[in-house]
C-alpha cells in the first residue's frame, strides 16, 4: 500500500469473458483473507465476450467506502486495458503489461470507442508521442510511472511443460498469473493467493493445483526479473479475529431478503438485477432456527408484468414475497404497482437502477428512477420507497422492507443501483439477532365460521385494515383494482370513494409518524456544521470518503443521507435545513431528482447540485474536489462530475 496512506488502488482489465472477474475475485479474496479491508468496483459493457471490462480493488487497513479515479497498480494482459487505463496510473505507481503488447497501435483495438481513441491520440501527439502502447508507456515513464513487461506466453509455456499439460490449458491461468505478478510486486505472501484459489475453485483439485503452480511461477519470475524495491507499494496482512464476509450488493440484498423471511421471489432476467435472483436460486433452502429448513420458491417469469403480478398473488397468501428488477422491467410494473397499492398488498420490489432512459446503459449505474418510483403508475397509489447507501444497509433494509410492506400493507420499493450491486466490500458478518419481523395487523375472525367474510378494507383511524391470508377460515374477502367498499366490492359511490382515498393516504401518514428517525435519515460528519451535503443511495461511500479528506483540510461538513424517500420525511428534514449553508445535493442523475423532491416537499432549493450521469459512480476523490471548490466559493451552482477514462 501507499506507505503514507496505508492503502492501494489496484486495477485489472481485460476483455469480457476472459476471466477478469476471476482475477479480481482472486485478488480481493487474497486481500480479505489477509485481514484487509477493501472496496471493489466493476465496470463492464453490455456484451458477453470481447468488450472491455475492468475491476478496481481498493485495499486498506481501514474501512474504505468508495473507489478512486486513480490507480496505483494497473494489471493488464492485453493491449486494450493498457491503452484505456495507462493514464489513470499515478506517479510512482506501476503498470504490468504483456510483453507482446509493447507497441500496439491504438487503431488496432477494434472496440476502442472512437472518442477515446481520438482523445488519447491528441494527448500523445501533444507530447510528441506516437498513438501506440509504446507512446503510452513512454508517457508513463515520463510521469514517473513504473512499467513491468511480463512475457505471459512464456510463463504459460513453462507451466505447461512443468505440469505436462497442453499449452491451451495452461494459458487458462492467465488471470492468476497476472494477479500473482501483482502480489509478488507488492511482496504479499502467496499463501493468501493460494487460500483464495482454494475458495474460488473449491472442490476442483486439478484446477487449484494448476493455478497454485502458476502462482509459484509468477512469483519466481518477478523475483528473478524485477527489482521489487523500486516499486514503493506493499501489501501487508493484518491479524483479525472478527468474522468478515466479502460480498457484493446483490448478495447483501438476497441475504437480507432471506433474513426478512421472504419465501417467494419472481423475476425476469435483467441486468443488473438478475444476479440477486440467481443467488437465491442457488440457495433455495437454508437452515431455520425454528424447524427444518426454510425454502424460497424462485420463479423465472415470462416478463416483468408477470413477475410483479405473481409476487403479488403470492403475497396474498401470507408468504413474504418480492421481485427484483431494473428500469425497463420496473416500467412494465407500473400498472401492477397501482394494483398492489389499491389492494394493500405487501409486496417488495427491489429496483436495481441502471443507466436510463429506455434500454439505456444496461451495465452502468445511475440514480435515475427516483421520481418514477415515487410517482410511477397512473392515479395516486401509496407506496414506500427506501434507498440503501451501502452494503450493510442493503442487507438490513432488504429485511426491513418486508416489515414496512406488511405493517403498512403497501408495496415497498427498495432502491439500489448497479454501482451497489457490483460493489465489493469486506463487512463484519451480519447480525441476525437484530432482525425482528413485524407482520402487521392480522385479521382474526369473530368466529371461525367458514362462511364469514372479512372487511378486508375496513376503514380505520390508522388507515390499516387487519389482513387475512388467502385461504384463512372466516377471512374471505373480495379484492379489486377498482375502487371498492370495505368488503372489497366494486363501488362508484362518491363518498366511499373519498373515504378509501383518505384511508390509503392515512397509512402513509402513519408510516411517517412511526418509522424511527434513523431509518429516515442518517447524519454523518459534523452534525453541527452548516456545510450540508444531502444525498441518497450509493453516493454515500464517496461522500464519506470526501468528508474525511475535507476534515484533513480542516473543513467540517455533514452528510444528511436520506434513506426514506417516500413518504418524504419532511418532519426530520425540515429542521435540518435552516442550518444548511450551503446546501449541496449530490446525486447520480442528470436533472437532480432528489433536489426536485426536496424542493417540492420543503420549498428549499439546493444551493449546489453535484451530479454525474456518465453511467459511472462518483469517486470520493471527485466529490472532494467538488466540495472543496464549493467551500472556496469558486464553484458554479451546478457541478457535473466527469471522467472521460472510465
Amino acid at each position: 500500500m501507499r506507505k503514507q496512506e496505508q492503502e492501494l488502488d489496484w486495477r485489472v482489465g481485460g476483455p469480457q469473458g476472459s476471466g477478469v472477474d476471476t482475477a479480481a475475485g482472486i485478488f480481493a479474496r487474497a486481500c480479505a483473507i489477509g485481514g484487509l479491508y477493501l472496496f471493489g468496483r466493476r465496470e463492464y459493457f453490455s456484451n458477453i465476450k470481447g468488450r472491455h471490462s475492468y475491476y478496481d480493488v481498493r485495499v486498506s487497513h481501514r474501512v474504505v467506502t468508495s473507489h478512486r479515479d486513480t490507480v496505483d497498480l494497473l494489471t493488464t494482459f492485453e493491449a486494450e486495458s493498457l491503452i484505456r487505463h495507462a493514464l489513470a496510473v499515478v506517479p510512482s505507481g506501476a503498470i504490468i503489461y504483456n510483453a507482446n503488447d509493447a507497441d500496439v497501435a491504438l487503431d488496432r483495438i477494434v472496440f476502442l470507442d472512437s472518442r477515446l481513441r481520438e482523445d488519447l491520440t491528441t494527448y500523445l501527439a501533444e507530447r510528441d508521442l506516437p498513438p501506440t502502447t509504446a507512446g503510452l508507456l513512454e508517457d508513463a515513464h515520463r510521469r514517473n510511472v513504473l512499467t513491468y513487461a511480463v512475457p505471459y506466453a512464456e510463463i504459460s509455456s513453462a507451466l505447461a511443460e512443468k505440469l505436462g499439460i497442453p499449452k491451451a490449458t495452461a494459458s487458462r491461468t492467465l488471470n492468476t498469473v497476472a494477479v500473482a505478478i501483482s502480489t509478488a510486486l507488492l511482496d504479499y505472501d502467496p499463501q493468501y493467493l493460494v487460500k483464495a484459489l482454494e475458495k474460488i475453485f473449491s472442490g476442483r483439485e486439478r484446477i487449484i493445483n494448476m493455478n497454485i503452480e502458476a502462482v509459484n511461477l509468477a512469483y519466481q519470475f518477478v523475483h528473478a526479473e524485477f527489482d521489487t524495491h523500486e516499486f514503493g507499494f506493499r501489501l501487508t496482512p493484518e491479524k483479525t479475529s472478527e468474522r468478515r464476509l466479502l460480498i457484493n450488493g446483490h448478495q447483501a440484498v438476497a441475504m437480507g431478503k432471506l433474513a426478512g423471511g421472504m419465501s417467494f421471489q419472481s423475476y425476469y432476467p435483467i441486468s443488473p438485477a438478475t444476479d440477486e435472483s440467481v443467488f437465491l436460486e442457488a440457495h433455495p433452502t437454508f437452515p431455520s432456527r425454528t424447524e427444518g429448513r426454510g425454502l424460497t420458491v424462485v420463479v423465472q417469469t415470462e416478463d416483468e408484468l408477470s413477475a410483479l403480478a405473481m409476487a403479488s398473488g403470492a403475497a396474498l397468501t401470507g408468504a413474504r414475497s418480492a421481485t427484483a428488477t431494473s428500469g425497463p422491467g420496473f416500467s412494465l410494473m407500473a400498472e401492477g404497482l397501482g394494483w398492489a397499492g389499491m389492494n394493500e398488498v405487501p409486496v417488495v420490489i427491489t429496483l436495481y437502477q441502471r443507466g436510463g432512459p429506455s434500454t439505456g446503459m444496461p451495465t452502468r449505474s445511475e440514480q435515475g428512477d427516483l421520481l418514477f418510483a415515487i410517482f410511477g403508475g397512473h392515479g395516486e397509489s401509496p407506496r414506500i420507497v427506501i434507498a440503501s447507501g451501502d452494503l450493510m444497509e442493503a442487507f438490513y433494509d432488504a429485511a426491513q422492507a418486508f416489515n414496512y410492506a406488511e405493517r403498512y400493507q403497501m408495496p415497498v420499493i427498495h432502491l439500489v443501483d448497479k454501482a451497489m450491486t457490483s460493489m465489493m466490500q469486506v463487512v463484519p458478518v451480519f447480525d441476525l439477532e437484530s432482525i425482528k419481523l413485524d407482520r402487521g395487523e392480522r385479521y382474526t375472525p369473530t368466529s371461525d365460521q367458514d362462511n364469514g367474510r372479512s372487511p378486508r378494507f375496513a376503514i380505520t383511524e390508522s388507515g390499516i385494515s387487519p389482513r387475512p391470508f388467502l385461504g384463512q377460515p372466516g377471512g374471505k374477502y373480495w379484492m379489486t383494482g377498482v375502487e371498492h367498499t370495505e368488503y372489497g366490492r366494486v363501488t362508484e359511490d362518491p363518498v366511499i370513494r373519498e373515504q378509501m382515498m383518505e384511508k390509503r393516504a392515512r397509512k402513509l401518514e402513519l408510516a411517517l409518524r412511526e418509522i424511527p428517525p434513523e431509518e429516515k435519515i442518517r447524519i454523518y460528519g459534523y452534525p453541527g456544521s452548516p456545510f450540508t451535503i444531502m444525498s441518497w443511495g450509493s453516493n454515500k461511500g464517496g461522500i464519506l470518503d470526501a468528508l474525511e479528506r475535507l476534515h484533513e483540510d480542516g473543513i467540517t461538513a455533514r452528510l444528511i443521507q436520506v434513506r426514506l424517500l417516500w413518504p418524504f420525511p419532511v418532519d426530520v428534514i425540515q429542521p435540518q435545513l435552516e442550518q444548511a449553508d450551503p446546501l449541496v445535493v449530490v446525486e447520480s442523475n442528470y436533472s437532480g431528482q432528489f433536489a426536485a423532491l426536496l424542493r417540492q416537499n420543503t420549498g428549499r432549493a439546493a444551493d449546489y447540485l453535484v451530479v454525474k450521469y456518465s453511467g459511472r459512480p462518483m469517486s470520493g476523490q471527485a466529490l472532494y474536489q467538488a466540495f472543496k471548490a464549493i467551500h472556496k466559493g469558486t464553484s458554479p451552482s451546478r457541478v457535473v462530475l466527469r471522467n472521460p477514462y472510465e
Binding site: L245, G261, F264, L305, W339, K436, D450, P473, K476
Partner: protein
C-alpha cells in the same frame, strides 16, 4: 386439493352464492358459467375459504364477485400470473382463473402461452364471446376475419386466434370446451378441470346477446354436441409413450379444428404425462410439500427472524 368425505357432504352450491345484485345484461352467457362454477365447487366439497377465484377485467372478470369465496379481481390480461403466484405460494388452495377472450388472448396472450409452460395446478376458464363486452363490443381475438357484429362499424379486419390450438401449442395439459347454456355439462367439465393435476384450460362458448348478434344462443343451439357422447377419449396416461401421444395429438387437432357445421364440446385432452409445476418444485426441494411459501415459519415466538444464514456465511466468510 385434498377433500374429506365429510367436508364434501356439508357444502352446497348455496354456500358459494352471494346476495349481491349482478349487473350483467339479461340473457348473458356469463350467468350460466357462474352457476356451473358454484355448483361444481360445491359438488367437489371444497370449503369456500379454500377457494380463490381470480378474475381478469371485462364482463367475465366480474365473476368472482358472485361467489362466496376469496375473490380477486386482477388486472386486464394478468389473471394467470396473479393466480399462479397464489397457487404456488399456497398449493392447498383451489384456484380458478377467469377471463374474457380479449383479456386472455389479446393483452394476456403472453401469459397464456407461458402459463402453458409451467403447468401449475389451476383451472383457467375463458369466456369466448368474440367481443370485448365491457368496452362495448369491439372485436375480440376470437372473432373470425371479415365478420361484423352489431357493435362494429366495419367487418373485422383481423384474423381469429384459435384458442384450443394455442392452448395445445402452449402446453396446457387439460383442454376442454363448454357452452354457457349447457350448465349440466359445464358443471361436469369444471369439476374435471379442477380435479386435473395440472393446468386446465376450459373455453366456454359464451353468447353475448348485447353485442354479438352472429353467434347467438340460437346459432349455437343447433351445432354444439358433446365429444364424450360420441365416445371421444381425451386421456393421455401418465406413462404414455411417444407414439401414443402422437396419435392423441392428431385426434385432438382434428376435433379442435371442427367448427361451423358441428361444434364439439367436452374434454379434448387430458394429459397426465407432464408433471405439474408444483411436482417439479417438490422434486427439486421436497420441503415444498410440507412447508410451501405460505407456510414457511419465518419468525420465532419473540418475533426474531427464524432464518439461519450460517451456510451462506460459510461460503462468503474470509476471516
Amino acid at each position: 386439493m385434498t377433500v374429506t368425505a365429510q367436508a364434501k357432504s356439508r357444502i352446497t352450491a348455496k354456500d358459494y352464492r352471494t346476495e349481491y345484485p349482478i349487473d350483467w345484461c339479461p340473457g348473458c352467457g356469463d350467468y350460466g358459467i357462474l352457476n356451473a362454477l358454484q355448483q361444481a365447487l360445491a359438488r367437489l366439497g371444497i370449503p369456500p375459504h379454500k377457494t380463490a377465484i381470480f378474475g381478469g377485467i371485462g364482463c367475465s372478470g366480474k365473476t368472482p364477485y358472485h361467489l362466496n369465496a376469496y375473490g380477486i379481481h386482477t388486472l386486464h390480461g394478468r389473471v394467470l400470473p396473479y393466480a399462479t403466484g397464489a397457487k404456488l405460494a399456497n398449493p392447498e388452495l383451489t384456484v380458478v382463473a377467469i377471463s374474457g377472450d380479449g383479456d386472455g388472448l389479446a393483452i394476456g396472450a403472453g401469459h397464456f402461452v407461458n402459463s402453458g409452460r409451467r403447468n401449475v395446478n389451476l383451472t383457467y376458464i375463458l369466456h369466448n364471446n368474440e367481443v370485448y363486452g365491457l368496452t362495448k363490443g369491439q372485436a375480440a381475438p376470437t372473432l373470425p376475419l371479415g365478420m361484423k357484429t352489431r357493435s362494429q362499424p366495419e367487418p373485422n379486419i383481423q384474423s381469429q386466434v384459435h384458442s384450443l390450438l394455442l392452448a395445445f401449442a402452449s402446453g396446457f395439459t387439460w383442454i376442454g370446451r363448454g357452452y354457457a347454456y349447457n350448465v349440466r355439462q359445464l358443471i361436469d367439465l369444471i369439476q374435471q378441470a379442477i380435479t386435473h393435476p395440472g393446468l386446465a384450460y376450459l373455453e366456454v362458448l359464451q353468447p353475448c346477446p348485447t353485442y354479438n348478434d352472429l353467434h347467438t344462443r340460437e346459432w349455437f343451439a343447433e351445432r354444439v354436441y358433446s365429444l364424450q357422447d360420441e365416445g371421444y377419449d381425451p386421456l393421455v396416461p401418465e406413462d404414455a409413450d411417444e407414439a401414443y401421444v402422437e396419435a392423441k395429438t392428431c385426434q385432438y387437432l382434428e376435433k379442435a379444428f371442427e367448427w361451423n357445421e358441428r361444434i364439439p364440446t367436452g374434454v379434448f385432452l387430458q394429459n397426465l404425462s407432464v408433471p405439474s409445476f408444483e411436482a417439479r418444485i417438490a422434486n427439486r426441494t421436497p420441503i415444498y410439500k410440507t412447508l410451501p411459501p405460505a407456510r414457511r415459519i419465518i419468525a420465532d415466538e419473540t418475533g426474531h427472524t427464524a432464518t439461519d444464514l450460517s451456510e451462506i456465511f460459510d461460503e462468503l466468510a474470509m476471516t
